[in-house]
Every structure is written in C-alpha cells, then in structure tokens.
C-alpha cells in the first residue's frame, strides 16, 4: 500500500479510473505517511477524517463515472488558504483559533475537481521568509540531507510545508503561494516542481494576503505533468477578485508535447552573478545544453534592471504587507491581548501575535509609505517595477521563454542564514524579477549539488503563456531525468 504514495498525480488518476485502488485506499496511504513524518513538521493541521470523507465521496463519483479532473487526489493545502471550518493560521500566533466561515476560491476549485484534503501545511509566518524558519508553529524540515552530515536543512520558503510534504510523499501535490519566489525556491530546495502562474491566473479571494500585487497561488508537485493538471484545476477567472483575469483556462496538460524544436530560449546575462557558485553555473549550462539538444535555439539576452529587482521588491512587498496586516488588530478574530485602552490592546496583541520577521516587514513597509519617504521609496520602487516589466517585454520580443537557475544555492542548514536578513533575502534574487513583472515561472528539479542536494532550474514565460513554460519544462524534466529521492530517515 505504501507504494501508492509514490505515484504521480497522473498515475494515480489513471489507477483510480482503472479501479486498481480506491480513493479511500489512496487517502489512507497518505494518512499513514503523514503519521510517520511528524518529524518534518510539514503540517500545522492534519485533517484525516476530512480526507477519508472526501475520498469516500470521490469513490462514489468514480463508480458513477462522474469524476472530476483531480478526483480522489490527496493534496496538502498551504495554511494561507482559508478553508471553511478548518483552522487557518498563516503560521501566525495572531490568527489563533481562526476557523473561516468561507472557502478560498482556489481550494473550492480543487474540491470541485474532486481533490481530497489531507490538511493544512506549514509556512513562513504570513508567507514572509525563504527558509520556513519564521513559522509560529516551528520550522519545517527538508526531507533531504547532505551526504556529508545529518544536519537538518531548511525546505526553503515560504511554502516550506508544501514542499516537504510533496517531496516526502506525504501528499501528491500541494498548493503554494508565490510572492517573490515562495513556490519556486522551496521546490528547488526539495527536488520537486513548483509553478507560479501569471499574476491574475488564480484568484486571490480567500487567501490570506501578504503583498496583494504580487501574491499568486500555484501548484507544487513531483512532475511537470502533475503541475499542469493541478494548475488547470486551481486557475480561473473569479469575479470576487478584481485583479483576476477573465481568460479561458487552457488544457495545460495538452501543452506537454515534448517538442521545443525552434523554440527560442533566452539566457539573461545579468543572472550570471559575481561569485555565483560553480555548481549552479554548471547546472545552468547543462540546462542550456539539454534544450539545445532538443532543438531549441539559445539566445543571449539582457534584462538590464535585474539588479534593482530585489531592493524594489523589498519596498513594494513590505509596503503592501504593512497595510494588509493592519486588520489583525485583536478586535474581531484571532488573538487578543487585553490592554488598558484600545491603543494598548493593539500594541500588546500585535507585539505578541506577530513574529520578528513579520514585524520587521511591517516596520519597513510603514516607513516606506510614510509622508516624506513615499516618493523616494514606494514610488521609486514602482518605477523600477515598471522598468523590470519593460525589460521582460523587450526580451520576449525575441525569445519564447527564459532559462535561469531557481536559487543561488542548494538548501542550507537551520540558522545558517539567520543573522543577516539581507543574506536571506538574496535567496530570491532569481525569482523576484518575474514576480515583480507578474510573469509565469516554474522550477524543475534538474540535478544534485556536490552534497547530493537537489537543484532547480527556472523557466519564465510571457504573461498568460504558461503553456510554453510547461512545454519547455517537460522537455527539461525529461532530459534531466531527475530520479533522486531523499531517504526516508524521518520514519525512523
């Protein structure tokens, strides 16, 4: 039975349809896996009863031949998506006890497609972090370990719980959200596929907001095909989200033609950082060779404003966050610490309810929006953002997709980058520009570091051209033939 957890979504879908196993059996296998993997701390809330209930309903629909596109597929949900009646925390103390009376559009779409909910997975508090070290519910551990030592490693962030759960076969797929790389970077750190679709492709309604103009939900899976299947179920126009885009959702799986002949792949010179690690560079070059061998045309391009992306991001995202998080005030829901008066209650509640990283970003954001600083910081950052989008627009006149590394390094150990926030922020250097431009991007596991840790390559595409990204990713995936897996030390 435990083999069921190793199936891909596509395989499980076919197996369920062929009645090789039932949805309940599939769910049960994953519940067992979750039970034995508490050491990873991937889940904040496990919902085994719900999983069995969902799976039972799935079996009934399968029996009638009325199955949805994700019928019976057990998924983990990042605990940033509001799930009706199930604790939703954003990994923050301030949302203590919060059980929404509503279901996010993305998760609704998944349940409507027949998916089975295993539980809510851990993340950096309010999705602010690149290592999953800022969760009120503790660190998530990466299933992977270096060959050289047994030091626990970070899974990346902020969708660290999602990444660990999928990499450790606790879930067949997980939802993630990506604001500056929060899907792609943890996918790279854990050897899985993570895709951020175009901004506006998935509804943000019912997802706890971090930075509204950047937040975008996406799938985290073990294969590109699975990501395509899952994205199709998640995506779609939502009149409840004014920034959601009214466009037909294509059949993403059908984009996996395996053919990239004549496809123009851009290689941005600005992504070759000074002091870039040799193995990351080697991986990138290997990726170029694979695509070249598959018939793609490699074109050197320039994205001149790349170096301003990270500073601009660290103004825009905290600015929006400082305002988005103002609603957590102890008045209506979540944590309240009583005080002498209203202002005192606010101070105590927010002092106790938010962790250090969240406070840091609220402070940065509040400062950036303050009278006298707005023009110099926020407005300037928005101008940089426009330039970055223009860079991409220009580049996509000559290329169809852009290939870069996903992250500047493999997963690191806990505490390794804890002292200097700026060093941590550098993790997002390759993922942030596409976030600022709202472009679709995917991370594909493409190789191992010298320590035996997974490394990812990133593909970016034109707005709403996820299909080209998926098609190229499929070719990259096949060429890389990444079949390494972490040893299941956590079961010990």
């Amino acid at each position: 039975m435990s083999d069921l957890t190793k199936l891909t979504i596509a395989e499980a879908r076919d197996g369920l349809k062929a009645k090789k196993f039932s949805a309940v059996e599939l769910a049960a296998a994953h519940i067992t896996a979750m039970d034995s993997a508490r050491g990873l701390n991937a889940f904040i809330t496990e919902t085994p009863e719900k999983a069995i209930e969902n799976a039972t309903a799935s079996d009934a629909r399968l029996a009638k031949g009325e199955e949805g596109k994700l019928e019976g597929i057990p998924l983990a949900i990042k605990d940033l998506f509001c799930t009706k009646g199930t604790l939703t925390t954003a990994a923050s103390h301030i949302l203590d006890g919060f059980k929404p009376e509503y279901e996010s559009t993305v998760t609704s779409n998944l349940w409507n497609a027949g998916a089975v909910m295993l539980g809510k997975v851990n993340l950096d508090e309010f999705a602010m972090g690149s290592s999953n070290e800022t969760s009120y519910y503790g660190n998530v551990v990466n299933p992977w370990r270096r060959q050289t030592d047994d030091q626990p490693l970070v899974p990346g962030g902020s969708s660290g719980g999602s990444a660990s759960a999928v990499a450790a076969n606790l879930a067949m797929g997980a939802t993630g959200t990506d604001t500056g790389g929060s899907i792609r970077q943890p996918a790279a750190f854990t050897g899985i596929v993570g895709m951020k679709p175009t901004y506006g492709r998935c509804s943000r309604w019912g997802t706890v907001a971090f930075a509204s103009s950047l937040d975008q939900a996406g799938p985290m899976t073990r294969t590109v095909r699975d990501a395509a299947i899952m994205l199709e179920a998640m995506a779609g126009f939502d009149p409840k989200d004014s920034t959601s885009v009214d466009m037909e959702v294509p059949n993403f799986e059908a984009a996996l033609t395996g053919d990239v002949k004549g496809l123009k792949v851009g290689i941005p010179k600005e992504y070759r950082l000074d002091g870039m690690s040799a193995e990351i560079e080697a991986l990138w070059n290997q990726g170029i060779e694979w695509l070249k061998a598959a018939g793609a045309e490699i074109i050197d391009i320039s994205l001149p404003h790349t170096k301003y992306a990270l500073p601009a991001y660290y103004i825009v995202a905290p600015a929006e966050a400082s305002s988005n998080l103002a609603r957590y005030d102890g008045v209506r829901y979540g944590l309240r610490v009583e005080g002498e008066d209203l202002a005192d209650m606010y101070s105590r509640t927010r002092a106790e309810g938010f962790g250090a990283e969240v406070k840091r970003r609220i402070l940065i954001g509040t400062y950036a929006l303050s009278a006298g600083y707005y023009d110099a910081y926020y407005l300037k950052a928005q101008k940089v953002r426009t330039r970055i989008a223009e860079d991409f627009r220009e580049a996509f006149k000559t290329v169809d997709t852009i290939l870069t590394p996903t992250a500047p390094s493999a997963a690191f150990a806990f505490g390794e980058k804890g002292t200097d926030p700026l060093e941590m922020y550098l993790n997002d250097v390759f993922t942030v520009p596409a976030s600022l431009a709202g472009l679709p991007g995917i991370s594909v596991p493409s190789g191992l570091s010298s320590d035996g840790l997974p490394l990812g390559l990133q593909l970016l595409g034109r707005p709403f051209d996820e299909e080209t990204v998926i098609r190229t990713a499929g070719v990259l995936e096949e060429a890389a033939a990444f079949d390494a897996a972490p040893t299941a030390w956590w079961r010990g």
């Binding site: 954003a90 706890v208 409840k240 989200d241 004014s242 600015a319 609603r327 209506r332 829901y333 303050s370």
Partner: protein, 495 residues
C-alpha cells in the same frame, strides 16, 4: 468675545469687527454624502438605515482574512451623476487608495478612498442668497470612499461595542473651494448641495441619520489679504450647528490673532451643547495616513459612452427648473427658489399649475398649503390635499365659481377633511353669485337699510364704498362675485 457681526445677506460676506479692524471669514466645506445604493461600495451587503446592529455585514466589511473588494458599479454611476449635476469634470480614469489608520470600527485598518486621482474634478455650485441673488462656489473635487463602522461607548460599563452595518457603505466626499464668506453662505451651500443630491437621487441628504455630514474649514484674514491658518471642525451634522460653529471659531481665531498669538492648524470638535469648539488633534499629532494605491483594485476606468448615457438620463436640476419657472411661468425669483428647493415641492407645484394660472398656483402652494402644512407639522407627502385637488380649487377661482376669499375657506375644509373642492362648494352652497338680478336686490336692501350712510356717502364720504361692499357681501353670505358687486354698487349709490 461675542461681538457684532455684519453682513451675511449680501455677497460681501461676514465681517468681524475686531479691536484692530475688520476681519473676513473664509470657509471651505468637505461634505460627506452617503451614496444612495442598495449595496455597499465594495461588497454586496445591504445599506438600509436603522437595521439591527451587525446584520448588514459581509466577510469583506468585517475585513476577514483574504477578503477582497469589488467595486459596485451602481455607486460609480451615482458619483458620476453627482459630478454631472455639479457641472464638474468627470475623470474617466481614477484610482482607489488606502488611507491607513487604526481604529476599532475600521476593520481593514485602512479606508479605501481616492486621494490623488478622484473620479470627479473641478465643478461649480450656485448658491441662492437672500433677495434672489446667487453666487458661484467652486467645487474642488468629489471622490468615492468607504464609511467606517460605528463605535458605541455608552452601552457597557467597561467596553465599547462596534456596529459594522455602516462599514463599507459608499460615501461621496465633496470638497468646496475656500469660496464661502459667511455662515449664511455655508448654510446656503449645504442646502443647495443637498437639494441637487436629492434631485439626482444620489444621496437622501438626511443629516439626522448621518447620511450627510460636513467637515468645516474656517480661517480669518484682513479683507483682501492672503488666507490665514485654518482649523477644521469634523463631522457636523446640522446646518444650524455648522453656522454656530463657524461664528464661534471665527471669533476665537480673531481673538487669538488680536491678542498677538497665531492660530494653530488643527482639527477641532464642535460641541453643540456648550456652543464651542475644542482641539481634537494638532497638526503635529495629525495622522500620517500613508496613502498608496490599493493593490486589490485596478484603476477605475470608463468611456465617454458611459458618461453620456448617464448625462442623457439626468433629471432637470433646481437651477434649470428655477430659471424655467421664472422665464416660462412668470414666477418671481424668490418664489421660484422656494418651489424648486425640494423636488417633491416642485413636482407638486407643477402638477397644480399644469394648464392653470401658474402665479396663482405658486401663491397657493407657498401660501395656504405651506401654511397649513407648517401649522399641522405635516410633510408634503402627508398633505391631505393632493396637487390635483388644489388644482381643481384654483380652477374654481379662475372660472369665477368661487371668490378668492371663499376659496380659502374651502381650502381649510379640504385640508381638514380631504374632500374635493367642488363637493364642499356644493354642500355648503358657497357658489359665487354673479347673477346681477340677485346682487341688485341685495344692494337695494343694503341701501334701504342704511339711508344715513348713503346720505353721508353722497355728501362726499367716498370711503364708505368699502362699507357698502362689505354689507352686500355679508348679505349674500360672501358668495357674491366682488367684481359684479363693485360694478353695480357704485352707480346705485351715486344715485
């Protein structure tokens, strides 16, 4: 401090005679008008006034995690209508911003408003002054924003309670230029604005229910000099209080300056009980609202066709109506102003006047009808006399069936009982007598009964004509046609 106030009636405005000379008062108003719409600005919740606490609150209004605003098209249309009514520039591209501050009845921790790019730009409002004079007051802008909820501090010994029914309700903030010069002008401005909003159906203008409230900016200066430092008085919800607040505040500022001090720019609160303003927060304590474009909302864009359609559907507004009443119906500017102030009244008047003598109709509406409504404390909609019924009464006057005097009697009866004029005239036999035979007979009787007076008259005491008129009218029970009496009486008296 109380000192003589001059002016107010004329457009020179209010002048305060200080110890060191004259001071001119400068006033600008920010009126918050609740948009008449079924749903809130960014959610589908109902907006009905007086509903039970916290029953008109969606997840969006309560700022639950992950909730997103979606603009209500109807509210946008109302703002554009209002802009058109204020002859203002309509901005086809506008932006919603977040105004950030913490308060218990502000669930999001920010108010969605419009800061740098409002939906409506510069416009103009014509205020009506005494003697039928008018003055144009500049409108700076109109923008859409959300209302906050309500904090209730007096229902629990240690806690404040929050009612979020109002949270998210659409408001239009309508900002005037600092063009007003007296409390009377400010009052005229609010009344006129209210009238236009009610004509447009974009705000019910109900100040008691808080659907219209004003922030009042007041400063003083030497006539002809530059603007002084202003103070803002927040949330004034009656025209009377507004005028009191302006007078108090202007005098306070003059006192400060004349004592050698300077006015601090600050937000003040008007206390109607004490009749004074007091400091709420100074400029230094003023909030830094950290405005920035709301990333949950796209800029608001619409095309000319959208505006043109709304324009074509606009009702006739008070200024146009007043003009028409004056030029086409021959009504005096004063009466026209009174009749158009409320659309309901104007409609009533037009129904009365239709096909009849408009001046007579105006007199009856502003005279007898208003008098009786005031006396009985009824509103026009509660009037026992419908426009048609009043029109019929006027018809009876015009065709000579009854005299004007009898008509007043009939009207009282109509107001009392709701009966039709013709029925009352019939029942009570009030029909005017124009039959010369009957009137002649009455005249003969009166002459016969008052021979002494006739002699006096004939001796030159002309004034007695009125006495005889009265006697004849009395003898006919007031029903004699006064014109006919007059025509027949004089020759008979003259012998």
């Amino acid at each position: 401090m109380p000192r003589q106030l001059l002016g107010g009636e004329v457009d020179m405005g209010m002048i305060i005679q200080g110890a060191t000379g004259d001071w001119e008062v400068v006033i600008g108003l920010e009126v918050h008008a609740q948009v008449t719409s079924k749903a809130k600005l960014f959610s589908g919740s109902a907006t009905e006034y007086g509903a039970e606490q916290n029953t008109q609150v969606s997840f969006i209004d309560a700022a639950m995690p992950g909730m997103l605003p979606v603009i209500n098209r109807a509210a946008v249309e109302q703002a554009v209508r209002t802009g058109l009514g204020l002859k203002a520039q309509i901005n086809k591209f506008s932006v919603f911003d977040r105004k950030n501050y913490f308060y218990a009845d502000l669930p999001q921790g920010y108010q969605i408003s419009q800061f740098q790019q409002p939906i409506v730009g510069k416009g103009v409002l014509t205020i009506d002054l005494k003697d039928g004079e008018t003055r144009e007051i500049g409108i700076t802008r109109l923008h859409l924003e959300q209302d906050a909820g309500k904090s209730i501090h007096d229902q629990h010994p240690s806690m404040s309670l929050i009612d979020l029914n109002r949270s998210g309700v659409a408001l239009m903030e309508i900002v005037s230029e600092p063009d007003l010069r007296s409390p009377e002008e400010a009052a005229a401005y609010v009344k006129k604005l209210r009238s236009i909003l009610r004509y447009l159906g974009t705000c019910d203008g109900n100040m008691e229910e808080g659907s219209m409230r004003a922030d009042v900016n007041v400063s003083v200066r030497r006539p002809g000099e530059g603007f002084g430092t202003r103070c803002e008085m927040k949330n004034i919800n009656s025209v009377r209080f507004m005028q009191q607040a302006i007078i108090y505040e202007a005098n306070r500022q003059v006192d400060i300056i004349e004592a050698g001090g300077t006015v601090d720019q600050e937000t003040r609160l008007y206390d109607p009980v004490k009749g004074e303003t007091r400091s709420m927060r100074s400029k230094e304590e003023a909030h830094d609202y950290r405005y920035f474009p709301d990333p949950d909302l796209l800029p608001l864009e619409f095309d000319d066709a959208f505006v043109e359609k709304l324009k074509s559907e606009l009702p006739e507004l008070p200024d146009e109506k007043k003009n028409r009443f004056i030029t086409e119906l021959g009504i005096s500017p004063y009466d026209a102003g009174v009749l158009v102030a409320e659309k309901e009244v104007a409609d009533y008047f037009e129904a009365v006047a239709k096909g009849r003598d408009a001046k007579l109709a105006a007199n009856w509406v502003t005279g007898e009808l208003f008098g009786n409504l005031n006396r009985t404390g009824k509103s026009l909609s509660e009037s026992p006399v419908s426009a048609d019924a009043l029109g019929d009464l006027i018809g009876l006057i015009k065709d000579g069936t009854i005299s004007n005097r009898i008509a007043k009697e009939v009207f009282e009866e109509m107001f009392e009982t709701g009966k039709a004029a013709a029925d009352i005239v019939e029942e009570k036999g009030l029909k005017q007598v124009s039959d010369t035979g009957a009137i002649e007979a009455a005249i003969d009787e009166v002459i016969a009964a008052n021979e002494d007076k006739v002699a006096e008259y004939r001796a030159g005491k002309d004034k007695l004509l009125g006495f005889f008129m009265g006697q004849v009218m009395k003898a006919t029970g007031g029903k004699a046609n006064p014109g006919v009496v007059n025509k027949l009486l004089k020759p008979k008296l003259d012998g």
